[in-house]
Symmetry: C2
């Protein structure tokens, strides 16, 4: 099964990369873009047919390796 993991900075954490992107977009004429948050995205291929097991494993992997739970939050989707 394929799992998607989205890792983003928590809302209270300042995101300088996102801020830089917004400023670049405004310079390029995209004034309608109000805010940008940058995160990481992972696609995991998990060798199981049990979607609950795949989701649990992806969440465990996100918690232990892919995200820093102090400043980042993550979301897991099974596709």
């Amino acid at each position: 099964m394929r799992a998607r993991v989205f890792v983003t900075l928590k809302p209270s954490v300042f995101d300088p990369q996102g801020r830089t992107i917004v400023e670049a977009l405004h310079t390029m004429g995209y004034g309608d873009v109000g805010d940008v948050r940058q995160g990481k995205y992972f696609e995991l291929e998990i060798e199981t047919t049990d979607s609950a097991k795949a989701k649990a494993m992806a969440a465990e992997v996100a918690d232990k390796l892919l995200a820093n739970p102090v400043i980042e939050s993550y979301r897991v989707e099974i596709v």
Copy 2:
């Protein structure tokens, strides 16, 4: 409206970060994880109520700034 942009390396492009993550996971005991691809994830806040316009703008922004179309592909979702 909020747009989500997912940027991933094209399937033909080697992903050393993903490879390193797989090896780390195998070492940690997650042998069921067969493959990992790492990408970037962006959340854009676009000041419009027209979802078609928001999607078109997010795709344009992805093409011009967020992704490198030579080696990366992107996907846009409006939420």
